[in-house]
Subunit: 363 residues, 2 copies
């Protein structure tokens, strides 16, 4: 029953600009949805966990449009070309045309797949992100990266395709399991580590309120995360340079996710370990003090996030990282911390620092 009006963060990309609307109880706000969703024919893509919670609410609020839905199985292990095919089948079966739109109602897996379907169906139609997990609110729903996994490499098939709007209803976080909420916080603290020392300090001060999901803290954290992501995506939409710093911890993390099988580790958990590893390697490079590395580790631990890698072995890790998209010309590019609040993409680093980091964490 909060009367706080929603806040908006803008992504500025010329004719592909769009708003991220952040607030409580947006899913039932027919007037707000009307303002941001122009299409009269919609396919809502969601999953078996989210559908019983929010599908009917959203459908009702969308009013007298023509609305169909497709309910996918839940989990990263279903983020495949096969499941993508199910969305395309639904688009065709329901005869969506070029002026129709897709709504992605769910977490990052739903958003990435529904977005990729929208990117490629009839060579591209509109879509709207309606994230229902913390991870997708602060990261995957913003910025237009869409993809499916290949059995041997994460997010290997995809497209850049910006949504028309992101409707971030923080009320949906109430139903998010504790483990997933904490995994989402990994991406929140990432913004502090890579770009904003002040936000990092705020997170250290407000960790308890945030962990307890208090509205004001959650809204501020989501808004600040989206603002930082918007600033970075606004100058480098297609990851030619700067945008890659958003991948702090992701190269190490992808190796963990792939080695253990998609879905065993949550993405945010793997990224948390990856960030601890990146901080460690940054110390080995002489960039970061050990005290600052400990600040990284301790903040992750305060949110109950893992900071120790599973023993997948250095050979497997190396092989899996060699397949990561951030490899150019055969060299694994890494995101490291020049200092706290400032990340950098590095291709040219001492092999020993890298080898020692792998050995320390993956042996």
């Amino acid at each position: 029953m909060s009367a706080t009006s929603p806040q908006t963060v803008g992504i500025e990309l010329g004719d592909r600009s769009y708003p991220i609307v952040i607030g409580r109880d947006l899913l039932q706000d027919a007037a707000l949805l009307d303002r941001h969703i122009a299409a009269r024919h919609l396919l809502i893509v969601t999953n078996a966990t989210v559908a019983p919670l929010y599908l009917s609410t959203l459908t009702r609020a969308l009013g007298d449009r023509r609305i169909q839905s497709v309910v996918l199985p839940d989990g990263e292990s279903y983020k495949t070309l096969e499941t993508f095919g199910l969305i395309v089948d639904a688009l065709i079966d329901n005869r969506l045309n070029r002026d129709a739109a897709v709504i992605a109602l769910g977490g990052g897996v739903v958003g990435d797949m529904a977005g990729f379907a929208a990117a490629t169906y009839q060579r591209g139609i509109d879509y709207i992100q309606v994230p229902t997990t913390l991870l997708s609110l602060v990261d995957s729903s913003v910025g237009g990266k869409t993809a499916v996994n290949h059995p041997r490499a994460k997010n290997m098939i995809g497209a850049f395709h910006q949504p028309r709007a992101v409707i971030a209803d923080i009320a949906t976080l109430a139903t998010l399991p504790e483990r997933e909420f904490r995994a989402g916080l990994a991406e929140v603290v990432k913004y502090g580590f890579i770009h904003d020392l002040e936000f990092l300090a705020w997170l250290e001060t407000h960790a308890s309120e945030l962990a307890a999901r208090e509205d004001a803290a959650v809204i501020y954290a989501v808004k600040r995360s989206c603002e930082i992501k918007a600033a970075i995506v606004g100058v480098d939409e297609r990851e030619q340079g700067l945008r890659a710093i958003l991948n702090l911890g992701h190269t190490f993390g992808h190796a963990i996710e792939t080695a253990t099988g998609y879905g065993t580790w949550l993405h945010g958990e793997a990224v948390a370990v990856g960030m601890a590893m990146a901080a460690d390697m940054s110390v080995r490079m002489g960039w970061l003090s050990d005290a600052d590395r400990l600040r990284v580790v301790r903040l992750l631990e305060r949110f109950g996030l893992p900071v120790r890698a599973p023993s997948i072995g250095t050979d497997l890790a190396r092989g899996l990282m060699g397949m990561d998209k951030k490899v150019l010309g055969g060299k694994v590019r890494l995101v490291l911390l020049r200092r706290l609040g400032n990340a950098e993409v590095v291709g040219d680093y001492p092999g020993a620092a890298f080898d020692d980091t792998l050995r320390e964490h993956f042996s």
Copy 2:
């Protein structure tokens, strides 16, 4: 042993501009390939018919690069998400990175699928079109449309992704079966019908030389076709308007291809019938004289192209056309001839003219 130097048509699209190089014996021209292909790691995508003819020649001319290849089964019926998956497997197995490139060596099916793989692998890498059929030389290799078919609708999953270059070696036409060569001519005469009365007159005058595949006639026809396509794509890359006139005959044609099963009718054959039908409907609209309609039909017939539709029935045809990408807001948009040399996209036409055309041809 011709000493004619290759001719170049430019596609002007800002930082996505690229050349179409047209000439004879380009596939073995190492210097020319070096000028247009920057990547040092390449995956050549081709099919089982083309591979024995040109794969080793091209590989040799590409010199000391790292070159891998994937050989797909030949035919429109393989233009599926599954075959696309095979290309992605090859990209991953061979560990192509973001600075690698794909070469599409073959006809429209190979070009569309390899292009879609390049568009989506790691969210987009470079590719080069090396068309080996007349249809792909004059149409599908130019303009950046990539796609695979869905079992129920052609080209339904795809992307706009411009190649870095098109290497159009007309020597490859020597091995093209007569039926396929003639099907390709359908797209050539299309450019006359939609945009260039003078070219249409040239085609009527030089039909015999062209049908006999005489070099000078083929080079001129390919070049003029590419120039017209370049002019249209240059003003409307993503088919917001004008570019749709390139689809003359395609909506009727798609219904034929889908109803009879992909590959039974060649694309160009279906388009030939579709153009005859569009001319017929243009007469019914009062746009075209019957004499001009006969000019359309006669030129198609001079190239041995079909001008009569199979009896698929008007209901099925209507259903299949309702699934065509050119449908907006539930109305089938059609490309019709305002007059010879001038096509127009029409959404608002008398239902009777459409119904009569369907009945006349599909009953």
